[in-house]
Symmetry: C2
Subunit: 340 residues, 2 copies
Amino acid sequence: MAVTIRDVAQAAGVHISTVSRAFSGSHLVKAETRERVLAAAAELGYRPNQTARALTTGRTQNIGLIVADIANPFFPPLIKSAQSRARLCSYQVFVADTDEDPRAEEELLRTLARQVDGLVLVSPRLANEEIAALGGEVPLVLVNRRVPGLCAVLMDVAHGAALAVEHLAGLGHRRLLLAGGPRNSWTSAEMRRAAEAAAAGRGLEMTLFAPNSPTEQGGIAAARAVVEARATAVIAYNDLVAVGLIEGLDALGVAVPEEVSVVGIDDTVVGRLNRPRLTTVAMPTAAAGRAAVDLLIQAVEAKDADQATAETTLGTSLVVRDSTAPAPRPEPAADAPPAA
Amino acid sequence: MAVTIRDVAQAAGVHISTVSRAFSGSHLVKAETRERVLAAAAELGYRPNQTARALTTGRTQNIGLIVADIANPFFPPLIKSAQSRARLCSYQVFVADTDEDPRAEEELLRTLARQVDGLVLVSPRLANEEIAALGGEVPLVLVNRRVPGLCAVLMDVAHGAALAVEHLAGLGHRRLLLAGGPRNSWTSAEMRRAAEAAAAGRGLEMTLFAPNSPTEQGGIAAARAVVEARATAVIAYNDLVAVGLIEGLDALGVAVPEEVSVVGIDDTVVGRLNRPRLTTVAMPTAAAGRAAVDLLIQAVEAKDADQATAETTLGTSLVVRDSTAPAPRPEPAADAPPAA
DNA sequence: CTGAAAGCGCTAACAG
DNA sequence: CTGTTAGCGCTTTCAG
């Protein structure tokens, strides 16, 4: 068995409680004694047993990060920044993937709840009420979801979607299609709301096509809908869907951006490398990972009672590249409502 | 506090040890009693406290996965499959990122060692001796590294590199450059060994340029070396470097694949989407994640003593796409050694 | 400031 | 088959 607090106590000629205090940074120990203890500990290569500590304190120094799909390029930068920030604060992080399945998400949440001090739920697929219920069992920080009473880090997709519509309108597009995401996706709902408002405000037609799987396959499958809606521009749930859309459109003999413009969301490496290079709404994923961890740790370590719901909103911007271009033939907006 | 084993015992009218047995699947409990206990537990929503359990058993049911860079597209599929497989076996997984820093890797290893049953080290940057030393403290499974006495999952990069050389030779290239990876990378060393052997066997010249940062930046920076070596083809440490190389070459006015052919390694989404689409050696990352977890769990749960070093080698293959083409002008191999 | 003692929630011999 | 009894390694009152 590894070296324990008892070994250190013996080596330093003090009681184990003194060693404990020396390590927990208690001021109830003479500086000189602490030195001696720390020296002995270093000598023996002692490291406090987190598990044992957790049992008495009720604090594990672990947090959990639950995402829908690790392999979706949206998540890795967020995971990276979250675990890096957590480690800076002496927390380790469990990462778990729900495979876009709400039931798996719930089970995971329940399992992890007992062995962490709190959880970060990124782009959850569960319904609000279920999340709220789970929120009673363990400190929760949501990313891209707003649930009354819970902390959240939001990315301003609404603004991004509005920018996208504005950009497309400026290029002369009159008939848009919105390729939404999965059911229960807050991002998808926000996008829709904002895009529809922006479209209405400018007298544009907007067809909604949803839900779609948030993958390249989802995009490929949605390509037909674009043609059927006779849209000249489409805003996709994310970059993966956008890339799939471009592929699917190409397969249908529709050129992007000459005949149809495509805007993605996320600004992942996938969109940057795609040809045509993707016009997309940049999401601050790395910042969101850090912010979520900060919020969580703050909630966990708050001396005072459960503080008020904290919410951080991060900005988005539009990155214009090559997948958008002027509308093919500027049709007169015969059936458009009067612009505001 | 949450419901404990004592509450369940009371509710079921048995002693806590009976509850414990009912949950640990001991056969030392009457089926009928177990039913009653389980019912009471379900009623109360009891879940065994993993932390407390870990303290007595010494088994945490957690494993750690240490990778160099979560955001490098090589890793996410591996992380995803590893955590999925682990969960199937009732293990949770800590994911940590070393940012390519050997010292961070060691610190992480030491910290995590105490709170997991074992660790998977993917593409470590530490030296063999340091890994071997750490291997004494905690069960370790390495991915893409061979250290005597430790379990490992290897991807047959050597074969892949040989295939790449063969492919390039077949296209008439005589002067190759190998853009290697970071110091201490087993993959890089394997590639080099195999590529040099294959090149020598076919009378090709091969220049080594290393180390390189395993990133797009690394590739961009290496582009000049290709021109200076007057190579007509280059094999890159990974897809990211390959894509960077293509970019860098383009900036230097060198066309890929017309003037220089580029082969990547990994077969990530990055290479698939790049234009020109990248010819690359496909690495079985998802399979490796699963295999590593299997090996680790097997080592941890082995009844018998530390079983012999297990090693799994997974195959690779060459995916030919558009970044490779016939050599520009088939120079006579004036200075080549006689072919084998 | 430091030692003593009582557990945290659970498992694991050992009795019965 | 089930109850008893020790702890796992550490923190935390409570004395001194």
